[in-house]
């Protein structure tokens, strides 16, 4: 049974039909690649899965139960963590502060809540260790980290909060060769730990390197779905640009 099942997802922005009746399944401990040209609807789809937009039509099921997310917070509470292209980190806060962004640990209530900084820092170090991520310190400001390191912080945040599903939007964009390899390695490590991952990428080599299955979108419609071992980059590109296979 799929962990996440999306059926008939449609979304329109004004005159633009961003998604038209898209079906997607995500299985446990699976890495699913989501590919398509610019404007194919990849970002819209993950924003619906992560609670940023409500779909105009269609249903989401998590472990067979229908779910509706009114906000990113609700999706997160259901175990779906999203790592956005711009990473959604606060550069002026440190690593630990970002891992706990919006969910700070503290004692007391409301405005009188006092931060539990030490426990936050210790928990942050532990999760970094678990993922074998090496950073100078959990007190380092994110502003001072490289692109790959930021990606690692964003992934750690998802893992710390016990995400079952991690959605990554262009995780390797703007990274150097070595950082790219490390991030892909992290994706594999997530799968080893039983997480399901959805990866959006323009880089087909990266998709083929980590994904078990690939879903291709074109102009808001799902035009194909392949197991990675049973297809080629050429076939995927043909589906993306809409040239029928000979």
């Amino acid at each position: 049974m799929p962990l996440l099942r999306a059926r008939g997802i449609s979304k329109r922005f004004g005159a633009v039909q961003a998604l038209r009746e898209v079906d997607v399944d995500l299985y446990p401990a699976e890495v699913l690649g989501l590919v398509g040209d610019n404007g194919a609807g990849k970002s819209t789809l993950i924003k619906i899965l992560s609670g940023v937009y409500p779909p105009d039509a269609g249903t989401l099921e998590l472990e067979g139960r229908p779910v509706r997310f009114a906000s990113p917070r609700e999706a997160r509470a259901a175990g779906i963590e999203t790592i956005y292209q711009d990473l959604a980190l606060a550069e002026n806060l440190d690593v630990a502060g970002n891992i706990f962004l919006g969910r700070e640990l503290g004692y007391g209530w409301g405005l009188l809540r006092v931060l539990a900084r030490r426990p936050m820092e210790e928990a942050a170090s532990q999760v970094l260790q678990r993922l074998e991520i090496h950073l100078p310190s959990v007190r380092t400001l994110v502003r001072h980290l490289s692109g790959g390191q930021r990606q690692a912080v964003a992934i750690s945040r998802a893992v710390y909060w016990d995400a079952r599903i991690v959605i990554m939007d262009e995780p390797t964009a703007a990274l150097g060769v070595r950082e790219r390899a490390r991030v892909l390695e992290l994706v594999r490590r997530l799968r080893e730990q039983g997480k399901s991952v959805i990866v959006i990428s323009h880089s087909l080599p990266d998709i083929f390197a980590v994904c078990d299955r690939i879903v291709v979108l074109r102009r808001g419609v799902k035009v194909g779905e392949r197991r990675t071992g049973e297809t080629t980059e050429e076939e995927i590109v043909r589906m993306m640009v809409g040239v029928e296979a000979a």
């Binding site: 940023v52 906000s71 990113p72 917070r73 997160r76 999203t82 956005y84 711009d86 990473l87 959604a88 980190l89 606060a90 550069e91 002026n92 806060l93 440190d94 502060g97 706990f100 962004l101 919006g102 969910r103 700070e104 503290g106 405005l111 009188l112 809540r113 006092v114 931060l115 900084r117 991520i133 090496h134 950073l135 100078p136 310190s137 007190r139 380092t140 400001l141 502003r143 001072h144 980290l145 490289s146 692109g147 790959g148 390191q149 690692a152 150097g176 060769v177 070595r178 950082e179 490390r182």
Partner: protein, 332 residues
Amino acid sequence: MAQKTDGVAAPPTRGPQRVEVSYELAMVAALGLIMAVVGALAPRFLQPDNLFQIARNFAFIAAAGVGEALVILSGGGGIDLSVGSVMSLGGVVTTKLLSLGYELLPAIGAGVLTGLVAGSVNGLLVTRARLTPLIPTLGMLSIAGGLALVITRGFPITELGPQADLFVSLGAGFVGPVPAPVIYMVAVVLLGWLVTTRTPYGYNLYAVGGNAEAARLAGIPVARVRCIAYVASGGLAALTGILLAARLSVGDATLGQGMELSVIAAVVIGGVSLQGGRGSILGLFVGAALIGVLQNAMVIVGVPAFWQQVVIGTTIIAAVLVDRLRLRIVSG
């Protein structure tokens, strides 16, 4: 991106606070230097009674500055232009109630409440009606100042009722050698510093100011975080205005007139970025102290009064230039 890729050998990063503190340290050093020079020129300057007098003079700016700093830290072009007028209004409401024979605490409570209401209006207009912060707070500057005039009918309130002495001692009194406003300022600055650095609200404030979109995606209630900053600014401005009225033992609609400029200057000189998310309450404190010391030093050294404004203005611009330069160095 010429950084090591595997993170083990990281770029020469420094701790989170340390970078921010380094600007504050530079400010403290500048402050120390000025004090040493002026002290050498005029030994009277460093006498404890003069230092306490300086502290008492900038206490009101620093205390109101805590609220202003929260607003500016919250980003989104956040600024509160109404602090001066709200100070006047708070002072006028409290002194008016005292003159009508009300007890001290209810009178002060009503004054602070007025400020909280003004701050709430600012906050709601900024976060719900999505007005550029400049506009509602500029309007509030006029509204609060006008209301203060309406209440006083343009005349200072000098008759402060049966508890006048107690009230005046709040602003003009001493605890040992320390003027009461200085104790108030230290308490407010300390509280502001603790809230910004030791509470989830403070972290959220920095997150919202640094990257509102990231904060929103992380589930932080951006509008609420910002709104609270405006409410705090209004409340603190009113309370500070009440103490200023106590210090001068008069309720006057012109009490805080123009103070918003000194308050914003202190925040900016203290290294709080108008972009939001960067700077600290301690920086604000040092900024306010620098203004206070400069003003006093110029009087003692004998700089003509008209030139003093020129010097303060130059300091504001110089501080921001230094900050800009520092940023360029830090970010390579």
